[in-house]
Each structure stands twice: as structure tokens, then as C-alpha cells.
Subunit: 181 residues, 2 copies
């Protein structure tokens, strides 16, 4: 009979699924806000030395927790003041391949398949309403696209990449207390 702990250890090794200790999460949290921090500064905030932080960051990158490091561009001042979310109803499954071709357009920032009364959800940022119109025209040019609903953004109050912190309280919400609503 295999030793459960040893088996788990092996799995962790193979899947590289070590469960992120407090140091890791602190580092991730800081880097998700500002990746320009030096390892020394990062270390002093996390309570580690620079080489230790470096080692952890290297591991976080290798295991895919950190996807990459990017400069966040400002839409309006870089020529794309129009932001919209487009819901796409398409006929048939497996037709999503056509939509994925839109990834080539730099205006398309996100493509998700979603559950709900729609099939696909696109996040699109472009130069003008004219360009949005042109993009919708391309959408409707696809045979599988049945209908779209666009939600043009008027104001953006918050926009950021995934954060490291997790709000534990959300999972322990006592919904029964809301039953009286």
C-alpha cells in the first residue's frame, strides 16, 4: 500500500502544484501591482533576502503562476478610446474556431465562451465607433454568427489584471441570513 504522504509529495513534484505559501502570495500581490520593483525592495516587503525572492519568482514563472510581465497601455491616449463588450450568439458548437481568428486583431482583447443566454463574449477596444462597426461587420460575416449585443463602455472605474489576494469571507457568506430579503 502506497504511503499517502509520499504519493502526495510525488504528485506535488510532478504537477508542480505546491500550494503557494504566504511569501509567494505576498510576492505575487506586489508584482501584480508593480512588476518594476527590485528584488531587494520586494524582499524587504516580504521579509526575505533578494536571492530568496529571486528563487521564488523564478519558480512562480516556471510553474505558470506568473504568465508574463507586460506594460499596461492606456487605451484613450494610445488611440483606442472606445471600449465595448460584445455578446455573440452563434449557431452550433465547434464553430468557435471562426471566432478565434479574431485574435489576430489587436482590437480584440478577450474572447470567452460563457454560460448564460449568450455563447461568446468579446472585449473589444478600438479607435472609434466606426471601427467598432467595422468589427461587428466582420463578426456578422461569419456564417455561424446569429446575433450580437454590444455594450459600449461609458466610463471605466476599475480595470486591472488578476490579483493575488483572496477574500476568504466571500466563501463563508451565510446566505441563510439573506433569506428574509
Amino acid at each position: 500500500m502506497p504511503n499517502p504522504e509520499k504519493t502526495e509529495a510525488v504528485q506535488n513534484k510532478c504537477q508542480e502544484a505546491r500550494p503557494l505559501d504566504a511569501f509567494d502570495r505576498k510576492i505575487l500581490g506586489e508584482l501584480a501591482v508593480d512588476a518594476g520593483l527590485s528584488y531587494a525592495e520586494l524582499g524587504s516587503r516580504a521579509g526575505l533576502s533578494a536571492p530568496a525572492v529571486h528563487e521564488r519568482v523564478k519558480r512562480l514563472r516556471a510553474t505558470g503562476r506568473i504568465r508574463g510581465t507586460v506594460a499596461v497601455l492606456d487605451g484613450p491616449t494610445t488611440g483606442k478610446p472606445f471600449l465595448a463588450f460584445v455578446h455573440v450568439d452563434s449557431t452550433g458548437w465547434g464553430k468557435t474556431q471562426e471566432l478565434l481568428a479574431l485574435s489576430e486583431l489587436p482590437e480584440v482583447e478577450e474572447i470567452h465562451s460563457v454560460a448564460g443566454d449568450t455563447c461568446m463574449l468579446l472585449k473589444v477596444r478600438c479607435a472609434s465607433s466606426r471601427a467598432l462597426e467595422g468589427l461587428l461587420a466582420r463578426l456578422y460575416a461569419l456564417p455561424s454568427v446569429k446575433a450580437t449585443r454590444s455594450y459600449v463602455v461609458l466610463s471605466t472605474f476599475l480595470e486591472r489584471t488578476p490579483q493575488a489576494e483572496i477574500t476568504e469571507a466571500l466563501e463563508s457568506t451565510d446566505l441563510s441570513s439573506l433569506a428574509s430579503r
Copy 2:
């Protein structure tokens, strides 16, 4: 009578709205994909020297074209496998202030006000469906929130930050050619 060119020059100076030449856009494009590039590498790709690139990047940061540099975290492997878009119908204008308080939750990544059959649009990434439920509970706890519609993401095919490139063709789409559809 004021000299138009001079006036424009002054405006550019004041608004710091210089129109981004090809070098700037190339640099922005590269940095939006990988901000870890050295200035030397960046320079060789753009056809400039390292100091020249450095100067431009500094200016792009100062003028707000580059909002910041961040590490892109992977949702699933950092403990947040659930992604959803939540449409919020709220009663009355100016009540958005309540919703903005949700910015404090690291699970809330985006908050937009949109035109369409809904008022607010949230992008939410959390640990579990239980957490999503807890977040919706918080939403409904706000007096102004009338209804919500959630679109749970099943698969994400593309997800990136704003890109520098602009597809000119989108703005020159001949919509009259689509009239026959």
C-alpha cells in the same frame, strides 16, 4: 490672427498630446507583450539605440501612455479558477458610488458603466462558485441594486491587456457592401 500651426504646437506642448510616431508605437507594442525586454533588445527591434528607447519609454510613462508595468498572474493556478461577468441593473443615477466600493475586493477586476440594457458591468474572478455567490450577495445587499445577470466563463480563449497596434481597415469598412446581406 493666431498662427494655426503655432497654436497647435502650443496645444501639443500643454496637453502633451504628441501623436505617437512609428517608433513609439513599435516600442509600446513590444512592451505590451513583454515588459521584460532590455532597452538594448528593444532598441534593436525598433531601430534605435538603448538611450533613445529609454528616453521614449520615460516619456511614454510620464504622459500616461504606459500606465504601469505588472506581472500577469494566472487565475486558476493562483487560486481563482472562476471567472464571471456580472451585469448589474441599479435604480437611479449617481448610485454608482456604492458599487465602486467593491474595488476593495481583489476578486473584482473591472467595473464599467455601459450603454445598453444594463447599467454596470463587472468582471469578477474568484476562488469558487461559492465565492461568486457571496459576491452576488454583497451586490444585492446594496439598496440601489435591482437585478443582476451573471455570465460564467466556461473557457477563455484570449485575454490580454490593451495592444498598441491599430487595424486601420476596421475604420474603412465599406458597410454599403454588406447591405445585400
